[in-house]
C-alpha cells in the first residue's frame, strides 16, 4: 500500500502541474477551476482506476477524464468562476518586475484568447501535442478519435491560429519573435 502511494505521489508530482496547465488552456484561463478538475481527476484515478491500469496508461486516462470534466464544465454556467478567478489572479504573488509581469500576462492572455477561438476538439488536440508532446496515436487514445482526425484537427488549428495571430498581436501590442517579424521582413 505504501509503495502504491509512493508511485501515485510520483505520478502526481510529475503530471499534476501539466494537467492543470492543459485544463487552464482548455477552459480559457480559469485557473482555480482547472486545479479543482485536475485534483478531481487524480482523486478518481486514486479511488477507482489506480492499480488496474496498465503501466503508462495512467497519464492518458488522466487527460481523458480531465477533458471530459472540462467539457461538462463548458455546459455549465460560464460565469460562476469568473469573479473568483479574477480575485485569485489579483492576489497571486508576483515574482518578476512589473514590466515583465505585464508582458507575460499579456502574452498568456493572448494565447488563451487565441485558443478559445478554436473548436474544443481542435484545441484539446493541439494542446496535447504542443504542451504534452503526445504523439498523434496517443492523442487519439486520449480523445477517443482516430489518428487521421488528430492530424487534420491539429493542422486546422494551427492554420486557423496562424491566420489570426497577426491581427491579434497587433491588437494586444505584443511582439512575439516569430511569425510577425519574419512576415514583416518578408514584406
Amino acid at each position: 500500500m505504501a509503495s502504491e502511494d509512493e508511485e501515485f505521489t510520483m505520478l502526481f508530482q510529475d503530471f499534476y502541474p501539466s494537467l492543470c496547465r492543459f485544463l487552464e488552456c482548455l477552459l480559457g484561463g480559469r485557473a482555480p477551476l482547472a486545479q479543482d478538475l485536475a485534483q478531481e481527476s487524480f482523486l478518481q484515478l486514486h479511488r477507482t482506476a489506480w492499480g488496474n491500469l496498465p503501466a503508462g496508461e495512467a497519464r492518458f486516462w488522466l487527460y481523458r477524464v480531465a477533458r471530459n470534466m472540462a467539457i461538462n464544465e463548458f455546459r455549465k454556467s460560464n460565469t460562476r468562476y469568473r469573479l473568483f478567478d479574477r480575485v485569485v489572479e489579483t492576489m497571486r504573488p508576483r515574482s518578476r518586475n512589473p514590466e515583465q509581469e505585464y508582458e507575460a500576462q499579456e502574452r498568456q492572455s493572448l494565447v488563451l484568447k487565441m485558443l478559445q477561438t478554436l473548436p474544443e476538439d481542435q484545441r484539446a488536440a493541439l494542446l496535447l501535442r504542443e504542451q504534452e508532446q503526445l504523439t498523434y496515436r496517443e492523442i487519439g487514445q486520449v480523445l477517443n478519435v482516430s489518428e487521421s482526425k488528430v492530424k487534420v484537427d491539429i493542422f486546422r488549428a494551427r492554420a486557423s491560429l496562424r491566420e489570426r495571430w497577426g491581427k491579434q498581436e497587433q491588437k494586444f501590442r505584443v511582439q512575439p519573435s516569430g511569425c510577425s517579424s519574419s512576415r514583416q521582413a518578408k514584406a
Binding site: 497571486r92 507575460a104 494565447v111 501535442r129 504542443e130 516569430g178
Partner: protein, 307 residues
C-alpha cells in the same frame, strides 16, 4: 495556402512523417518560401503555447495531494457523493411536495358527502322539485305512476329500467344554495343510451308497420290492434327516456322523443275500429315530421357509439 504540402508541414514539425516523406518535405521547403514561412509560424505558435505558465502554487499542489491520499479508496469521491445526494434529496423533496399538492387538490375537487351523492344518484327525475326530495319519495311515485304494471308480455322493456338507475354515473354534488338540476349532468350512462337505441329501433318498426297498414281493404281496422298494443308499451318507455335525456342535457334525443311521444299516444289511443281518416292523419304527421328517418339515423348513431 496554395501549396499542396501545407498539411505535410504540420506533420513534419510533429515528427509524424516517415523518413522518406520527411526528406521530400525538407527538400521542398528549400524551394518553397510559402511552406518555409508556414513552418516558421507553426514553430512560433508552438513556442507560445508551450511557454504558457500555469498559476499553480506549490502549496496548492501539496494540499491537493494530501487531500487525495487521505480519501479512502473504497469510499466514493467526495464531490460526486455530495452532488448525487443533493440531486437525490432535491428529487425526493420534489416528489413529496408534488404528492402533497396532488392530494390536497384531489380532496378539494372530489365530492365529499356520500349521503348527498347517493341522493343524486338515485334521483331519476331531473326536475328541481323532484331532485330535492329524498330517494324514497322520488323513486316510488314516479315508478308507480309512469310505469305500467309489470306483465309477462313486456319483460324486455321493464328489465333494463330496473338496472339503469343503479349503474348511472355519480352526479355532481350541488353546492349550498344551488338547485341540483340547475346544471344537468352532461354524461348519460351506457345503459340509458342502449335503451334509447333499442327504443328508437322498436318505434321505427312500429311506425313502419303502421305505415304499411292497408286502408283500402274492408277489414283494415282490425289490423291496427298490434300497433296499438306496441304503441302503449312504447309510450311509457318514451316518457322515461325523454326525462332522462332532458336530465342529461341531450337536446337532440330529447326533442326526437318529444316529437315521437304524441304520435305514439295517438296510435295507442286509436279506437278499436278506427276509420281510415284517423289512420291517414297520423301517417301524414309521421311523414311530415320525418320521424322514421330520424329514428333510424339516431338509432344507428347510438349503436355505433356504443360499439
Amino acid at each position: 495556402m496554395s501549396c499542396n504540402y501545407t498539411e505535410k508541414v504540420s506533420s513534419l514539425i510533429d515528427g509524424e512523417l516517415s523518413a522518406a516523406e520527411a526528406r521530400d518535405i525538407e527538400r521542398h521547403l528549400l524551394n518553397c518560401a510559402e511552406c518555409e514561412q508556414q513552418r516558421a509560424d507553426f514553430l512560433n505558435l508552438r513556442r507560445q503555447i508551450a511557454s504558457f505558465e500555469t498559476s499553480l502554487q506549490p502549496t496548492v499542489q501539496n494540499r491537493a495531494l494530501r487531500k487525495i491520499l487521505s480519501v479512502d479508496r473504497r469510499a466514493p469521491a467526495h464531490g460526486f457523493q455530495w452532488g448525487f445526494n443533493t440531486q437525490a434529496l432535491a428529487f425526493t423533496t420534489l416528489l413529496i411536495v408534488g404528492a402533497i399538492i396532488g392530494l390536497v387538490l384531489y380532496q378539494t375537487s372530489s365530492t365529499g358527502d356520500p349521503e348527498k351523492q347517493q341522493v343524486a344518484i338515485q334521483s331519476p327525475s331531473p326536475a328541481p322539485e323532484s331532485s330535492i326530495k329524498k330517494p324514497s319519495t322520488t323513486e316510488s311515485p314516479e315508478s308507480s305512476k309512469d310505469q305500467p304494471a309489470p306483465s309477462k308480455n313486456n319483460k324486455e322493456t321493464t328489465t333494463p329500467k330496473r338496472s339503469a338507475p343503479a349503474r348511472r354515473p355519480p352526479a355532481r354534488e350541488p353546492k349550498p344554495g344551488e338547485q341540483f338540476a340547475a346544471i344537468p349532468e352532461p354524461v348519460r350512462s351506457a345503459d340509458s343510451e342502449t335503451m334509447t337505441a333499442m327504443h328508437f329501433e322498436k318505434a321505427e318498426r312500429l311506425l313502419l308497420a303502421f305505415k304499411n297498414v292497408r286502408l283500402n281493404e274492408p277489414g283494415a281496422a282490425t289490423n291496427v290492434g298490434y300497433e296499438r298494443k306496441r304503441a302503449k308499451e312504447l309510450v311509457y318507455q318514451n316518457m322515461m327516456l325523454r326525462r332522462e335525456a332532458d336530465a342529461a342535457g341531450d337536446v337532440q334525443i330529447a326533442s326526437l322523443l318529444e316529437n315521437l311521444e304524441p304520435i305514439l299516444l295517438d296510435i295507442a289511443n286509436l279506437p278499436a275500429r278506427p276509420d281510415q281518416d284517423s289512420v291517414r292523419v297520423i301517417r301524414e304527421r309521421v311523414e311530415r315530421k320525418n320521424i322514421v328517418a330520424l329514428l333510424r339515423v339516431n338509432h344507428m348513431a347510438l349503436a355505433r357509439a356504443l360499439d
